[in-house]
């Protein structure tokens, strides 16, 4: 019996002790009429060998396209050590560290992760993960509304330059809690959210302003001005940041006069494979003052009875298993294993290594954009400085171009036009440090010939 160790002798002996004569008898409290029949939709079991053959075929079927898509998930190099350590059974198959003494490995990793995230974001405290960047933003919005003691409002300003999937996720999650998400437009020349756009939200107070850095277009927002503007109106500032970009960019804690109040984002670039979208890792940091509003688990340092340093979950009174309906969030299972991966990843790269990665992505994307813009009809959409993504305008429908490129095993980017019709045939491209000159050149060639055919047609 796969994964079940019982021998016939075991079964008989155990039933004897229980005092029944069949396993089926153990289910006798379930009303007869409810008992399940065959599970028609479930095929019979396969051996590991058979399932291996099946999955190998599935993993192969889609080829090995070259990826120039970013848009929230980035194809970075991950040191081999990261997952060899992360999948060690002691990390992989442990649970939430409820018995601290038996889980110091996990707990210290959480504490180190929190330390690294606060270092990257320049804020005081970090939780030990949320599901992903988008749901972390939703939690940040809820948290900001709870935490803002100066203005009692549920209005939150949400720039349209925030990734559309994030905005949708936030909307799904917060929609029933009375939060009023006010959209703020961006400047179509620069791709930035300007103060002027913010002002259009009107004079009514708002609890928080969300500030993406870089924004979905890769464009750098004027985070200092935005932060000061919002805070001068008694609103909190929530930064949505890319942790690799933070190796080069000013951390939320340094934004404006007083720093952002909250920062969140997607931890995927810190050692997680693309893997179709998950599991990734949402992070959430804030200033010390708001720690009791922070959702999710937090590991803290303490001592044992002999005074030896150890770590334990702390401030659990915020959490659902203690506070139940009054908790800061419903989250229970989080993304612990990914926290482990991110922690090992950051430890191995260090700040200088992350900086090199960020700089290489920047340079590669510059090169990519430059080369693609040499193709007639292709041009950059925005002028402002950008991190490692670029919005380009195409002379043909993005969808068709992407499909033609895909046939050549090039995943050409993210169709921006679908989300921002006002930008026309718009494409968002990205070249991480893993993309080679040859791959960039091949993309350029493929784009040129695709567009030539499109024009001819």
């Amino acid at each position: 019996m796969p994964f079940i160790p019982h021998t016939d002798e075991d079964i008989t002996g155990m039933l004897d002790v229980i005092g029944v004569d069949s396993i089926d008898a153990l289910f006798d409290e379930i009303p007869k009429e409810l008992r399940a029949k065959e599970l028609a939709g479930v095929p019979s079991g396969l051996s590991e060998m058979e399932v291996t053959q099946l999955l190998q075929a599935r993993a192969r079927i889609d080829g090995e396209p070259t990826c120039f898509i970013g848009a929230g998930a980035y194809d970075h190099h991950i040191p081999a050590a990261v997952w060899q350590i992360t999948t060690r059974g002691e990390f992989y198959s442990a649970y939430t560290p409820y018995q601290a003494e038996a889980s110091q490995g996990t707990l210290q990793v959480l504490y180190e992760f929190q330390s690294m995230m606060t270092a990257l974001t320049g804020l005081d405290v970090s939780n030990a993960s949320l599901y992903d960047g988008a749901s972390a933003l939703a939690e940040a919005v809820l948290m900001a509304v709870r935490a803002n003691r100066k203005v009692k409002t549920t209005r939150v300003l949400m720039p349209r330059s925030v990734h559309p999937f994030y905005r949708r996720t936030v909307r799904s999650i917060v929609q029933h809690q009375g939060i009023d998400l006010v959209e703020v437009d961006f400047d179509t020349e620069t791709g930035q959210t300007t103060l002027a756009h913010c002002e259009t939200a009107g004079d009514e107070p708002f609890a928080a302003l969300v500030v993406p850095q870089p924004n979905v277009f890769g464009v750098l927002e004027d985070v200092n001005a935005l932060t000061d503007w919002a805070q001068s109106r008694d609103a909190l500032v929530i930064g949505v940041v890319n942790p690799v970009a933070l190796a080069l960019l000013s951390p939320p804690g340094d934004w404006g006069q007083n720093g952002a109040d909250i920062a969140c984002g997607e931890g995927q670039p810190l050692g997680m494979p693309l893997a179709s979208g998950g599991p990734y890792l949402g992070f959430l940091c804030c200033q010390q003052a708001f720690i009791r509003q922070l959702p999710g688990r937090i590991a803290g340092k303490t001592e044992d009875v002999d005074g030896k340093v150890g770590y334990t979950l702390t401030l659990q009174a915020r959490e659902q298993h203690i506070r139940r309906s009054k908790a800061t969030s419903n989250i229970c299972t989080n993304q612990g294993l990914l926290v482990t991966a991110a922690t090992v990843h950051m430890a191995i790269l260090g700040a200088e290594g992350l900086e090199r990665v960020a700089a290489a992505c920047l340079a590669n994307t510059d090169r990519l954009a430059q080369q693609l813009c040499e193709v007639p009809g292709v041009e950059p959409i925005f002028e402002a400085p950008a991190f490692h993504e670029r919005a380009l305008r195409l002379p043909a429908p993005t969808e068709d171009v992407l499909a033609a490129l895909a046939e050549q095993d090039i995943l050409g980017g993210f169709d921006l036009g679908r989300e921002y019709p006002e930008l026309g045939c718009a494409l968002l491209v990205c070249a991480t440090e893993r993309r080679t000159d040859a791959e960039i050149a091949a993309y350029r060639e493929a784009l040129a010939s695709t567009l030539a055919i499109a024009e001819a047609a």
Binding site: G19, E29, S115, Y131, S135, H321, M346, I348
Partner: protein, 487 residues
Amino acid sequence: MLIHEQSRPGRRATAQAPLETADHGDLPQALRRKQRAALPEVSELQAVRHYTRLSQQNFSIDTHFYPLGSCTMKYNPRACNSLASLPGFLARHPAAPESHSQGIMACLHELQDMLKSVTGMHAVSLAPAAGAQGELAGVMMIRAYHDARGDHERREMLVPDAAHGTNPASAIMAGFKVREVPTGSNGDVDIAALRDAVGPQTAGIMLTNPSTVGVFDRSIQAIAKSVHEAGGLLYYDGANLNAILGKVRPGDMGFDVIHMNLHKTFSTPHGGGGPGAGPVGVSKRLEPYLPIPLVTQGDDERYHWLDEDDRPESIGRMTAFGGNMGILLRAYIYARMLGAEGMRRVSEFATLNANYLQARLRDAGFQLAYPERRASHEFIITLKKEAKAFDVNTMDFAKRLLDYGYHAPTTYFPLLVPECLLIEPTETEPKEALDGFVESMNKIRAEAENDPETVKQAPHSLPLRRLDDVRAARQLDVAWKPAEGTA
């Protein structure tokens, strides 16, 4: 020692970053970082050694019996990890076109189908990232359903007092008021109290069956009838699905929505606290509201995503990219290895192990919370007798179990049973592990009687003795900071 404390300025794991220094001269000065983040600077060996040694300080399924009630800590087949980590799966970008996503989509589509079959539901979405998010999606669908019918007064969600904390917390997030329903002394929901509680304000009830007190609620049909007649819907918290897999289906019990914890029943890694996956299944009337994305198969046999545009009534997107795909893949692999017959065996042997352990502990003189009842895949003992007699509490027992090489069961949950241990052995543990556990419990009780300090001071054999939780909360230190003036 923290990794930060092993850091030396200028130390590097050089092979791991691009060797060439790329230019980033045109980033505006005002937007640049002024000072490098205080991340550790260590060599690759140092990092490997540090985290390898840290890992050894964990209890885990791969090293210990881990009968943590409600958590289903069973063997995570290693094949699931290695196959989900095949390069073709790891390399796929979430926004890759369908033309380059057929492999994973085939797996997801089949998983949707298997989960439908196993739960008896009409349709399934794999989107929620864990159980609690599945709950939120589930109760949001209940709300969407009532709202779509113009039934806007239904704003109250019934939740048994034994329920997991996520249940009330999720209901609140979906904008409901929570009303507690008491548990009867036999472990079943107090049906009379329930009947009093339902009414036109009732949006639904969140239940798990078998419940968190470890028994199968025999009046489930009466509950369903009563809630449905009042116009409410039934939500099934699938955390305990391991107990009934292939034996009885939530859909057949009358539930309208269910979430599943794939990291429990489908044995994906708990990972020190996650990731999980919390797919939701629904009856026909709730199908339009399922969170997106969904996978569908066209007439051309090719797979397609259904997203916002295809599903206008959907409650929407729960995460940016559709959920914890790698976990879904692991669950799929596990399900394919089990097959229909294997799934049924899961619940059979989980139940056998629980009832055997319950019988042995009872015979050893421990007090069961529900002595008249069958155990489901888990059961509760209460140590209030021992606590009174020896002034040694459940937490002391729990800590002392660690010394004997067993992870402690869940302590002090559910809240309604004093000094309780919720014990879930799971089907993958051999009889010897259960017998060893009983033996240790007996020893600890004898110690509690003869040498209570040993128990109260436990653990003794781990790298650390008992940790001070109060200090952790009072003298908050949740992040290492570089000494002033450095970094």
